[in-house]
Every structure is written in C-alpha cells, then in structure tokens.
Symmetry: C2
DNA sequence: CCTATATCAGATCGACTGACATCT
DNA sequence: CAGATGTCAGTCTATCTGATATAG
C-alpha cells in the first residue's frame, strides 16, 4: 500500500549516494507513468526513435541499441503495431528478420511525445532550463562511460 | 539473453530525454549490483542509514521515509537481521511496533558501504569529482520537487 | 469498535533464461 | 550442418494489493 502519509525526511547520508537518488527519481517516474496507456510509455518511444533515426531494422538490432531483451521486444513491438505506429514487414533480403518501419501516424506520435517530454519535463520540473541541460549532459557522459554505445557528438563536454 | 554483441549507438533524440538516460543508468547499476550478496544492496544500506541518522524507528516509519512498501520492509529487515546489522526489538511504549536499531557491526558496515560508494563511484566513473558533485546536487533538487521529503539544507543551490 | 503495525499470500511488471520453429 | 531471428513458456525480482493477527 506504500504508506505515503507524512513527509518524513530522507537521511542526509543517502543524498550523497547518486545511485540512490537516481533510483528514487526513476521510481517516482514509474508511479507517474502508470497513468499513461501501456503503448505510450518510454520503451515504445525509444523503439520508435531508433527506427526514425536509423531506418528500418530488425527487432534484434533495436534491442541491442536499447539493451532490451529480444523476447521483451516482442511485446513492446506488439503494442506499437496494435496502435498503428510501426509496420512489421519482413526483410525481403533475410526473411528471418523484420524490417520494422514507423508508420506516418507513428512518426507523428513520436514527434508529439518527444515534444511533450521536452516542454513539460515532469520529473525535472524542479530545475530550470539551464539546470536540466547540464544534468542531461552529465547523465549522458556517465552513461557513455558505463555503456559504450553513446554517439561521439553527445559525449563532448 | 539481452544480446550485447555489437556496440550499436543510441539515437540522439533519446539522449535528450532525461528519464530515459536515467533509466538506462539505473538498469546498468542493477546489472552491476547483481554480483553483490542480497544483504549488501541499496535497500539495506538505505534502511540502516535511516536508523543511524534518525534513531530507532518502526519498520513503517522507515518505509515512509524511503517510499518502501511496509510488506517489502519485512524482507529487507529480515536480511539485515540475518546478517547481524539490525536488532528487531519491540518498542516497549507500543508493542505493535519494532524499535529497529543498528548493531555495532551494522554501524561499521554502513560506514564501510558509504565510504566504498563515495570512493569508488562505479556508475559515475566517467565523471570527475566536481561533475559528480554537481550531478548529485541537481538530482537532489529535482527529487525535492517531485517528492517533498528532502531536508532543507540539501535543497539549497 | 476502529485504527495502526507487522506479516503473509498473491497479482503484476520488468528483466532474464531456455527451448523451439524458421530461415540463411 | 551451424548460426541468426522471432517467439513463447517460465523464472526471478521489485512493487503493490488484500487479508489477518495482534496491539493500542
């Protein structure tokens, strides 16, 4: 039931632990995201963004980019397909694979979602524009070190 | 199986989305944490930090601070007790509650864990000391806005 | 009586494993 | 044949729900 009665403070010592603070923020985000339909959540946005930016790809390839398991990709793409945001065509050159492609509606929807996230940053609402920019820069730099797959331009300080 | 063969890059558009980048970082942290024994993970450190900083409390109260569900607190404290890090005494003034208290070993262990996290920041290894400090400051400020329970001193910019 | 605490059984979800059919 | 791809069934964990025993 996750008793959120009072507003008992967190210990100072934990506010020195970045993984803890990040986890609390991510969990708060999950609670907020629960109000959205399943097909409109981050995994769907992320998959569509991959297709938009790198063109038609197999489910496997998208999963490698995003670190999503191939078996989980099935369900994620199921929802995108159900909502008419991607087309699951077979790759004619290799009929094991799909050549996943965003539909026109999917492209439009992706643009709307990205705009909404950028213009109404719920999780980072406590920060001003410059602070959000700086935070993002630091997060991306940290991610690039932990997990090599961040493009060069975005690693620059 | 989470195919991490190549090093296919992430789309730029997603690197503009803070919740996505934070989630990737938290997931990377989870993979790293899996190598540690269950009793040595963040929830255990967090509970112990609450007891150290605010004195003996009920499981409920710790859960309210950390946003952990009371039913999950049971298992978290089970491990802490098994490892000899907290004592589950009953509160003599209200025998429904525990007065959870850290043991001497628990205090020592907490100090070691906090030191280790601060001195070897695995997730933020790509950042220098000043960058880590700034990132933490921004994360705490964002959390204070989303979830009011961050103490005053830590909200200051 | 009604409420709070700790606990447990179970639902749900995210992440992963192992197996399998299909195709190269 | 080996190896890749998509899929499914099932495990494991985290998070949350609902119920119960006990104490106030």
């Amino acid at each position: 039931m996750q008793t959120d009665g009072g507003d008992l403070p967190l210990p100072e010592s934990l506010l020195r632990v970045a993984p803890f603070v990040m986890l609390q923020l991510v969990r708060a985000g999950r609670r907020l995201a629960e109000r959205m339909p399943a097909g409109a959540r981050l995994p769907q946005v992320a998959v569509l963004a991959c297709l938009e930016e790198f063109g038609p790809q197999s489910q496997r390839e998208v999963g490698r980019r995003l670190r999503f398991d191939p078996s989980d990709m099935v369900r994620i793409v199921d929802l995108l397909e159900r909502d008419g945001h991607v087309a699951r065509r077979r790759d004619p050159d290799d009929r094991r694979r799909y050549a996943l492609a965003p539909t026109a509606a999917g492209r439009r929807w992706l643009g709307e979602r990205l705009d909404a996230i950028e213009s109404r940053p719920v999780l980072l609402a406590g920060l001003d524009e410059a602070e959000r920019e700086r935070l993002l820069q630091l997060l991306v730099k940290a991610l690039a070190h932990v997990d090599g797959r961040v493009p060069q331009e975005s690693r620059a300080v």
